[in-house]
Symmetry: C2
Subunit: 193 residues, 2 copies
Amino acid sequence: MPRPSNRDKILTEGLKVVHERGFASASVREIAQAAQVPLGSFTNHFASKEAFGLEILDLYYEQSHAALAATLLNDALPPLERVELYLDRTIAKLYDNDMRGGCLLGNFGAEVTDNCEAMRHRLIEIFEEIRQAFIHALRAAVTAGDLPADFDCEDTAGFMFAALQGAIMVSKTLRHDMPLQRYKRQIFGKILQ
Amino acid sequence: MPRPSNRDKILTEGLKVVHERGFASASVREIAQAAQVPLGSFTNHFASKEAFGLEILDLYYEQSHAALAATLLNDALPPLERVELYLDRTIAKLYDNDMRGGCLLGNFGAEVTDNCEAMRHRLIEIFEEIRQAFIHALRAAVTAGDLPADFDCEDTAGFMFAALQGAIMVSKTLRHDMPLQRYKRQIFGKILQ
């Protein structure tokens, strides 16, 4: 395996630092230190901190998309099981981080959107892709007869995505998964009926 | 009316700057400039940026609490109308800010909790107070017969608060109230049944 380039190290380690500390709070100096590269290496590889931010956003979304492909978009599984699996994976991932960090997408939505138009536009695209993955699973549930034929998949998918982001933010603040367990109960008990 | 003190000006104007730009992104220099006070005035009045952060959090929550008192906690109104009024006021407040800024409480939950334990603890208290205001309105709805006698007010209130935070974050990113309108439809159409 080839050694990772300084650029790759900055992206991989920088993503961790930003996820832990926030985008503005994570300084270029800390990112370079975490990546064990000289400070000048950052400016060699990235035109600006925003350019770096756009790349770690895509790097993070690669992982999120893999989770979507294995769950909501996975036509080999029964549709509503996919939803449950996606939520359980989301919860497990937060536990892996000791309930810290939350979701980088939601963090950027809260922290970065008003400061960087390019990152806001990329987030809008990503949010829509995740909503489409929810729509895909819900439509499959309608086809399978697990949801009524007139079920509003579009509206429900948008609600479920946004509500999940809120549950993740509150879970992160509490360092407890109760908000996510509540989310599961209300979604399966009321919304997906 | 007495002239506002430098301390008051830093809090009032600093809250606006932090709400617009994020906590880490808003520098002490920018805050002092916005308040039209010398830079040294900030350090005279606040032991640290975190100490300032705790005070603007309380200042912001004073306004949020006034909105709760006028809506969810307002026993003069029919219970479910209070919920609708609270959501409409939340949406109107976001429009007043051109759909920017979102909710400072959610922004701090996403950005600040992992960096400042004192602010995380204060946020937990505030989140719980808001959840209690939802519980108060939902219990009144049960008493009025607008919700079934076995309705789980505790669980639903926690879900509604967290989901609203997510809807606000996505609305802020999209600069559009569609996520909040979806929230209203799903809450009244499915959750509050």
